[in-house]
């Protein structure tokens, strides 16, 4: 699922075409804006870089934003990708958030937040898993508390399970090349 942005990249530099815009299924319909929203794959919707949305953005499919969004974005069971040209000034709620562009606001994800090289987040992150690449900008706080998990239980479990520690170490090690590559 983390490779979804690869499918999006080729379109990021392309200008939005009226034909493409005509075949869109808008995620929301803000009053003043006719969004240039294109369905580039069956389950991924792309908001082009010329689009400015002010208001609330709700959806039930994966979404890539290359434009500007101000307000609130809610994709509770889906992946939100902020493309390299994306500029977000909003509260973000999603299953997973991948940031290659710029986010100004708090980000809440039920699974993972991934700030890639060149990505920027100014705000607080709440997510059980957070990855921040070395070339990324981040300013704020990270809350990785697992909802529903008792902290005491979690710690005792991790201390009594060396396998889990190894898995965590392996996860850290696997994250290392991403950071070291820059």
């Amino acid at each position: 699922m983390w490779k979804r942005d690869e499918a999006v990249r080729p379109t990021s530099g392309q200008p939005a075409t009226p034909a493409a815009a005509a075949s869109t299924q808008p995620v929301t319909t803000p009053a003043a804006v006719q969004p240039d929203v294109r369905r580039i794959e069956r389950d991924i919707v792309n908001i082009g870089k010329s689009v400015v949305i002010k208001g609330e953005l709700n959806g039930s499919e994966d979404l890539t934003i290359e434009g500007h969004v101000e307000g609130r974005i809610e994709l509770k069971d889906h992946v939100l990708t902020i493309g390299p040209n994306g500029k977000i000034k909003a509260q973000v709620f999603a299953k997973a958030v991948i940031v290659l562009g710029e986010v100004n606001g708090n980000v809440t994800a039920s699974e993972k937040v991934d700030i890639r090289d060149g990505g920027s987040v100014d705000g607080d992150i709440i997510s059980p898993r957070v990855a921040i690449a070395e070339g990324a900008h981040f300013r704020g706080s990270v809350d990785m508390q697992r909802k529903g998990a008792q902290p005491g239980q979690q710690k005792s479990a991790s201390s009594s399970q060396p396998e889990k520690e190894k898995a965590q170490a392996a996860a850290s090690a696997s994250a290392q090349p991403q950071a070291a590559a820059h």
Partner: protein, 226 residues
């Protein structure tokens, strides 16, 4: 300027400033495991990290402690004051730098930030850290013991946690040299009333210190006796 240009420029600047990140040396650390142990009994601790953002560190502490981590990169503030020629204003800036409430932080990772501050700036920073630290909270700090080499290229160190016993030291460009090392007595005085609970002098000329804030005294002991 297009945003993509901005990002590519930022990437280029970053690549130039980072020196051999993957080849950076790994050093042992004695105090990190004790810092984590000092927080492990707390539920949902809050950490304050004064170093640059390191993704693997965020993951490490988050997974170890299930904590909230606040990152306040002081090296950027120091560099900005050096570039602006306003180092004399750094003490006043540091007094107002932290919006966090008093006694709201369980653990503070200072890394080696005090090596880059003169005494005038170190004092207000230490005061603010003591203010924010909860009673029984812990503070980790490193202090260099070697004199700075005149003429050497100034650089900060990005401390990347490999595991509880190892840190990778990744140097990156700084605008200010390390200042004169603080003697042990000055370190103690600087952080009073915090108590030094662990202290190690490593072969790398690095002094690792773990401080703990004394627990609050019960109200009954404050009341005057008849």
């Amino acid at each position: 300027m297009a945003l993509s240009d901005l990002f590519s420029r930022r990437r280029k600047e970053h690549a130039e400033s980072e020196v051999g990140a993957s080849d950076a040396p790994v050093h042992p650390t004695k105090v990190l495991a004790r810092f984590i142990a000092g927080l492990s009994s707390r539920s949902q601790p809050v950490l304050l990290d004064l170093g640059p953002v390191v993704g693997t560190n965020v993951s490490f502490f988050g997974e170890q402690l299930g904590c909230k981590i606040i990152v306040e990169d002081l090296s950027k503030d120091i560099d900005r004051h050096v570039r602006d020629g306003s180092l004399d204003q750094l003490p006043a800036f540091l007094m107002k730098r932290f919006p966090q409430e008093s006694s709201s932080i369980d653990g503070i990772l200072c890394w080696d930030v005090f090596d880059y501050l003169d005494k005038k700036s170190a004092k207000p920073l230490a005061e603010q850290l003591i203010r924010m630290l909860r009673p029984d909270g812990v503070l980790l700090a490193f202090f260099g013991t070697a004199q700075p080499q005149p003429g050497s290229r100034p650089e900060y160190t990005r401390h990347v946690v490999v595991d509880k016993a190892k840190l990778q030291h990744r140097p990156y460009a700084a605008a200010r040299q390390k200042q004169r090392p603080l003697p042990n007595r000055d370190i103690q005085l600087l952080f009073e009333p915090l108590r030094i609970v662990e202290q190690f002098l490593l072969k790398t000329n690095l002094r690792e210190v773990l401080f703990r804030k004394p627990p609050e005294k019960p109200a009954a002991s404050v009341a005057p006796s008849a």
